[in-house]
Symmetry: C2
Subunit: 124 residues, 2 copies
């Protein structure tokens, strides 16, 4: 498992599966895409991503920081000011992730329609 080519998310124990699940996670996507415009503070993220709990925001930020996708910068001020920004790696991941978000938004109407049809058929 030394070479990149050997990573395989279809394999049960491969760490790439974990990463794929983590990166694809809703909160991660929303956070990463949010940071595409530039650095944001903890509170700014929390208000932008409506409904994310304190706990989940913290936890997801930590994971992303650990993977090196985002950078946490604590400014020496009072009251504390912490900014989160995308690293180069994070910027790379942003591209495909924002595509996913874009596609979902674009096809939402069709998906909604499909669901209605499906539910109507199943309900009969």
């Amino acid at each position: 498992m030394k070479n990149a080519i050997e990573f395989n998310p279809y394999s049960k124990a491969c760490p790439s599966r974990e990463v794929l699940g983590e990166v694809g996670n809703l909160w991660s996507v929303l956070i990463i895409v949010s940071l595409s415009d530039g650095p944001l503070r903890f509170g700014q993220l929390q208000s932008r991503i409506e409904g994310i709990s304190n706990r989940m925001l913290t936890q997801t930020l930590r994971n992303l920081e650990r993977d090196g996708l985002i950078l946490r910068t604590q400014l020496p001020e009072v009251p504390p000011r912490v900014e989160y920004s995308l690293t180069d790696l994070g910027t790379h991941m942003l591209k495909p992730l924002s595509q996913v978000e874009k596609w979902v938004l674009q096809y939402m109407p069709q998906i909604m329609e499909n669901r209605e049809k499906y539910d109507a058929i199943v309900a009969e």
Copy 2:
């Protein structure tokens, strides 16, 4: 919420958030990308996606079918033969999703490295 432009995953109650979470889900990604080569049967999917349980495979397939991303085709044979294939909509979603998978695989080594560094620092 009639227009596509009005969907917003940053809004708590918007259905696009649910869809984004569902599509980004690990199992969904692996299934959709798996089907990019052509139709696969239930059992084929289960063996390709190592470790997915009967239950999760069924459930995820149903959700994807409901959203209209995949098509379930039951062939009139004995024993039963069921094939799953991507719909046009599914094929559209495949593009960004396979990109995500590709990026993850490509940067896995760096991510692993970042994690080690992070853990080493935190552990001290």
